[in-house]
């Protein structure tokens, strides 16, 4: 597009670079110093723009449905996810008066707030209970400090029996003694702003208390462990895919057409079967009483008492995922290898290189774009994989996505799920950036 525009502009642009030519060719234009004019007297730029407008409009209309589709189904959900990971409107919306009243209270004082705050809370809760929203606030705050959920539920039941003419603080403390606790109020105050970094802190196994932000104790760290496991297992899986896929891709690119077509079908075959079926097949193969263990026992390599644990652990995840992601490594490799003419290796050999040197110094470097593309594809797919680790990973072989799914469908902590998802997205983008810096993204060839 740019090239074409440039070529079309050439007569107009040329005078700028070449003064003499401009005076010779476009004497009338440069004489009055005005813009170059088209035949009908309108400035050339205007008429060019007019001529291109229709073209551009048509191009836009043709792609509009797809753009709309992508916007609606892809960009919007990601935006929503990013928003949810910091969104925290429920406290401010449900307890507006309390939030306002708490502004003057300082948790460092070590004292629970005074009567006006409780009066505000009473007013808020009356509305919230009528709308049945108090349990939701309780649940939200419970992510930060366990127990608050029940405080709100209990108080919600008692609120009708409270007497607004008497002091409310004792009545609340009577309903649940946690209302007298500074920590409860500190959490409410901390999460009263409309936006919060709480989900991200949780997703990074960090917490904020009176002493500020710090990492959780080693034994309580869930997500960092999971992130690390996801990254390291994905790297191992990508490495395995490369190791197994490279020779296959080479065969595909170098065998005679008929054989290589057959091989290609074998490579693509997994695509035609359901992921679930394939993963289940691995269950059959890998379990303790499964085909592989039976075989190993049968040929006497291991004895019956020491059957290998190949499934419901990291080994299971690695084996099954390598199998599933292999085509994503083979195909980019193949498409790159197909473009490496055999004459390079021949040239290397004629220059005296043995098979290994010819491969390593001449062939291999030219397949790096394919390796890059395959590795990026495999790694990014692996890092977000869900179904296979869920089925064959057991507890030690699950990925961060399994945790995200858990928070979305079981614990219903969507904010945390969104924060985890956002971190995953940031991680992928960071890796992409690092890859671009180290290898160069122009060096990636997908086909």
């Amino acid at each position: 597009m740019a090239d074409r525009a440039e070529a079309r502009d050439a007569p107009v642009v040329a005078p700028i670079g070449n003064k003499q030519a401009s005076e010779a060719k476009m004497s009338d234009a440069s004489a009055n110093g005005g813009p170059v004019l088209a035949a009908d007297g309108t400035p050339l730029k205007v008429s060019l723009r007019r001529a291109e407008r229709r073209l551009r409009l048509r191009a836009f209309l043709l792609t509009a449905p797809l753009l709309g589709f992508i916007l609606l189904t892809f960009i919007a959900p990601i935006g929503d996810m990013l928003f949810r990971s910091v969104e925290n409107e429920i406290v401010a919306d449900t307890l507006p008066r309390t939030v306002e009243a708490l502004k003057d209270w300082d948790p460092a004082s070590g004292q629970a707030p005074d009567e006006p705050v409780f009066r505000a809370l009473y007013e808020d809760l009356k509305v919230a209970v009528a709308e049945k929203k108090h349990t939701q606030v309780g649940q939200r705050l419970n992510y930060e400090k366990s127990g608050i959920s029940s405080v709100f539920r209990k108080t919600g039941r008692r609120i009708k029996r409270m007497d607004p003419d008497k002091p409310l603080k004792p009545q609340f403390v009577n309903a649940d003694k946690d209302w007298g606790d500074v920590e409860t109020w500190r959490v409410i105050k901390q999460f009263s702003p409309r936006f919060t970094d709480g989900y991200f802190l949780a997703a990074l196994d960090m917490q904020r208390d009176a002493q500020g932000v710090h990492l959780r104790d080693e034994k309580d760290r869930i997500y960092l462990t999971l992130f690390w496991r996801t990254i390291s297992l994905s790297a191992v899986i990508t490495g395995m895919c490369l190791l197994l896929g490279y020779p296959v891709a080479w065969l595909l690119a170098n065998l005679p057409a008929r054989t290589s077509n057959l091989l290609m079908i074998l490579v693509l075959l997994p695509f035609w079967t359901s992921l679930l079926v394939r993963t289940s097949a691995w269950k059959v193969l890998l379990q303790q009483q499964g085909v592989i263990n039976d075989l190993l026992v049968g040929i006497g390599l291991i004895d019956d008492a020491h059957r290998l644990a190949l499934i419901n652990n990291q080994t299971g995840t690695i084996i099954a995922m390598t199998h599933i992601l292999l085509p994503f490594m083979i195909l980019p490799l193949y498409s790159v290898m197909k473009t490496v003419p055999p004459s390079y290796v021949r040239a290397a050999k004629s220059l005296g290189a043995n098979d290994w040197t010819a491969f390593w110094r001449v062939y291999f470097p030219q397949t790096i774009p394919g390796i890059g593309a395959g590795a990026i594809l495999c790694f990014i797919l692996a890092i977000g994989y869900y179904i296979t680790p869920e089925l064959v990973g057991g507890t030690s072989g699950t990925f961060i996505s399994n945790r995200i799914a858990y928070h979305i469908s079981v614990s219903l902590n969507w904010g945390l799920a969104a924060a985890l998802g956002s971190l995953l997205l940031i991680l992928v983008l960071a890796l992409y950036w690092a890859y671009d810096k180290i290898v160069g993204i122009d060096n990636v060839k997908l086909g």
Partner: protein, 362 residues
């Protein structure tokens, strides 16, 4: 001619088939002398590259032996043959700089750093590319890439260099310039060169000897002048230079000459080169520049009608109808003694019987 004993490269009854059904190379016998510049010339698909690949070791001969310096090399892997090769598309390694490309054959031979640098510099100097050492092949023009490819094939001092249409991708002017450069390098270094091309003028310019290939066989193997002056069969006559062909039947053989009768009943005498005997069909070959306008004593004379005139400055190309052949070309020098011809005019052409070679009818 080179005898089999002191030949540097010998193809001995070599055959090659890729699919087990057709022979791409049929019974190739060829001796190449040390220091010779031999060109394999032939139309596309005639098996030239195949021969080169067998010599380089990338294809195996289906039958027969190839000897290099007296030793059969059928079982020697390509990287141990020590043969330099310039590929049709140059095959410069795109991920290495020019200098690294040139250093590659020296590195795999485990030469020392200093020696490698010196040899690379010398090779670059030889092809006048010293300023380009740190460029990538993609940053070079076609002619520059070609020079580097030649330099790389020569940098490790191989006694034999193979070149497969190395100039095929260049424009005419550059090609002619490179022809001379390659020729000079060959003369200076004294290496043996086997050169493949399907451009006959290139072959005539550069070679000591030319092997004309067609249909998997060597049709003729001679030095350029002999090949042009004395083609031994119709294919060679037609393939090398411009040629007029006339079909006829042999009437009688008279020593070196023979009497032939054209299909319109007229007769002529021709040099009997490659004919079967009285009664057989033959194809006469006459170079356009050997035909003269006007009758001459002891010459074959024939009536011809002018069909087309093309003015080319120094000469006029004249297409005529001779014995029913409407593609008969005569080159008339643009000299004052020649009367101007006009289209449609009937004139007399004549040529020496010795310049008219009676060859096989194909």
């Amino acid at each position: 001619m080179t005898s089999a004993d002191d030949a540097f490269v010998v193809f001995d009854h070599v055959q090659k088939s890729y699919d087990g059904e057709t022979l791409v190379v049929k019974d190739l016998n060829l001796n190449i002398g040390r220091g010779e510049f031999l060109t394999m010339l032939g139309p596309s698909g005639s098996g030239k590259t195949t021969c080169l690949m067998m010599l380089a070791g990338f294809e195996t001969a289906t039958h027969g032996d190839i000897l290099l310096d007296g030793r059969p090399i059928n079982s020697v892997p390509p990287h141990k043959r020590g043969i330099g090769m310039v590929f049709q598309n140059y095959a410069l390694f795109p991920h290495m700089t020019v200098a690294e490309n040139l250093a590659f054959p020296l590195e795999v031979r485990k030469m020392g750093r200093a020696q490698i640098e010196e040899k690379v510099a010398r090779a670059l100097d030889m092809v006048q590319m010293s300023d380009f050492a740190s460029r990538r092949p993609a940053q070079l023009s076609g002619g520059q890439q070609q020079r580097i490819a030649v330099a790389r094939a020569l940098v490790f001092d191989p006694p034999l260099v193979l070149m497969d249409e190395p100039l095929g991708a260049l424009d005419k002017q550059l090609r002619e310039q490179m022809q001379f450069e390659i020729k000079h390098i060959h003369e200076r270094l004294g290496v043996t060169v086997v050169y493949v091309t399907h451009d006959q003028s290139e072959a005539l310019t550069m070679s000591d000897r030319i092997a004309v290939f067609n249909d998997g066989r060597i049709q003729q193997l001679d030095d350029p002048a002999t090949l042009y002056e004395k083609p031994m069969n119709s294919f060679v006559a037609q393939f090398i230079g411009e040629n007029n062909k006339l079909d006829a039947t042999v009437e009688a053989v008279e020593g070196e000459l023979c009497l032939v009768r054209f299909d319109n009943g007229e007769t002529a005498r021709a040099l009997a080169v490659n004919i079967a005997g009285p009664g057989s069909r033959t194809r006469l070959s006459i170079r356009p520049e050997r035909v003269e306008i006007g009758a001459k004593p002891d010459f074959n004379s024939v009536e011809a009608r002018v069909l087309e005139l093309i003015y080319l400055g120094d000469h006029i190309r004249c297409r005529m109808e001779v014995h029913g052949n409407t593609d008969f070309i005569v080159k008339v020098p643009n000299a004052s003694e020649h009367a101007a011809l006009t289209v449609g005019e009937v004139t007399t052409l004549s040529w020496r019987p010795e310049d008219c070679r009676a060859l096989d009818a194909e």
